[in-house]
Amino acid sequence: MPQLNPEFFVSQLFWLAVFFTFLFVFLWRVSLPRIATVLEKRQNKIDENLSSAKELQEQAMEIEKKINDQINKAKLETDEKIKETINALQEDVSSQISSLDKDLEKKVSDAEKEILKSKDDQMKNINNEIVNITKLTVGKITDIELSDNELNKVIETQKGSFN
């Protein structure tokens, strides 16, 4: 078995020591730190991205909260404005209605007064007409001239029985 031939033992050990030491030192000092740097860099990047994502999420939530607050505020404001407008309109309408009512009442009462006045006037005219017609008729039939006062007295007494 060539493995048990001690002829090359020293050579084997020597070159093993040379190459393995070189490999160990090279990996220890050059290769492994490089790989470690890459892995660390990647981990840092991942952590960074995660933290910035978290931050952005928090910001987004804050903004959402703000938007909701403003929406609520705006809703309350509009509700109040609507109420105010409704109240103002109602007041306006009722005041206008009341002023119209007053106007109408005044007009009605004016009209009543006028009607009464014209009724009185008409009555006076009727009296005069009656006096004139009676005077004429009596004059034609009897040649008696009646004074206005006498006729008026008679008419006044007769009027009571008409009414």
């Binding site: 090359f8 050579s11 020597f14 190459f19 490999l23 990996l27 290769s31 492994l32 890459v38």
Partner: protein
């Protein structure tokens, strides 16, 4: 010296250039050449693939990172936080054995892990290092490692020698495991390769098919033995920190 057609001929060492230093023969051999190739493959691969150091890795960079994470995970699982400082050593050991085994799978290439002197030297480095580490961490108390608590007192005269022997046989079991696996695998491949040539007519395809299947198995074993070598090293380091 093995015969010309012996399946063990592949393990023979041929000097490429004869060198002598202080009376010792340190010739650069085919075994040394395989080690050189192994070291070149590892260093070039791990350097060139990570050269760009991009955050989003290329496929090759990903392989380097996977190997890094594989051994880092292994070490942190078995040893914990103490293990970090031994990472370069365990990683070098794993890569050296793994790529050494793989280089041996290339036809006509020499497998230096099939030489007991090489595997024993690696195991001895681990054993001596771990023993020194144990004494540095625990001082003279490290000897209590051989004392198993919770056992009836009359068992100790039996158990302590067993523990001592099992501790001392660690470098042997560690080195022989790797050496024997490589030796057996490559010998078996060579034996069946001989069948391919010597069998009559087309019947040689059957051992050839067997060789193909066996090559797949050998690649698996090459990885597995490197893994076993690394994980046992981790466990021994852990023992140097945590006594029973």
């Amino acid at each position: 010296m093995a015969a010309k057609d012996s399946p063990l001929k592949q393990f023979e060492i041929d000097p490429i250039s004869n060198i002598e230093l202080g009376g010792y023969n340190i010739s650069f051999t085919n075994s040394s050449f395989a080690m050189l190739i192994t070291v070149l493959v590892i260093t070039l691969f791990l350097t060139l693939t990570v050269n760009t150091r991009t955050i989003i890795p290329s496929r090759m960079q990903l392989i380097s990172e996977l190997m890094y994470n594989f051994i880092a995970q292994l070490l942190s699982d078995t040893v914990g936080d103490n293990g970090k400082r031994y990472f370069p050593f365990v990683f070098s050991l794993f890569m050296f054995v793994l790529i050494g085994n793989m280089v041996g799978m290339v036809p006509y290439q020499f497998t230096f892990t099939s030489h007991i002197i090489v595997t024993f030297a690696l195991a001895a480095v681990v054993f001596i290092g771990v023993t020194i580490l144990g004494f540095v961490n625990h001082g003279i108390k490290f000897f209590t490692f051989f004392y198993i608590p919770g056992v009836p007192f009359y068992m100790h005269p039996l158990l302590i020698p067993i523990e001592v022997i099992s501790y001392l046989s660690r470098p042997i079991s560690l080195s022989v495991r790797l050496f024997a696996n490589m030796l057996a695998g490559h010998t078996l491949l060579k034996v069946f390769a001989g069948f391919v040539v010597s069998m009559p007519f087309f019947t040689g395809v059957f051992p050839l098919a067997f060789i193909v299947a066996l090559t797949g198995l050998e690649i698996l074993i090459a990885f597995l033995q490197a893994y076993v070598f690394a994980i046992l090293t981790c466990l021994y380091i852990n023992d140097a920190y945590h006594l029973h």
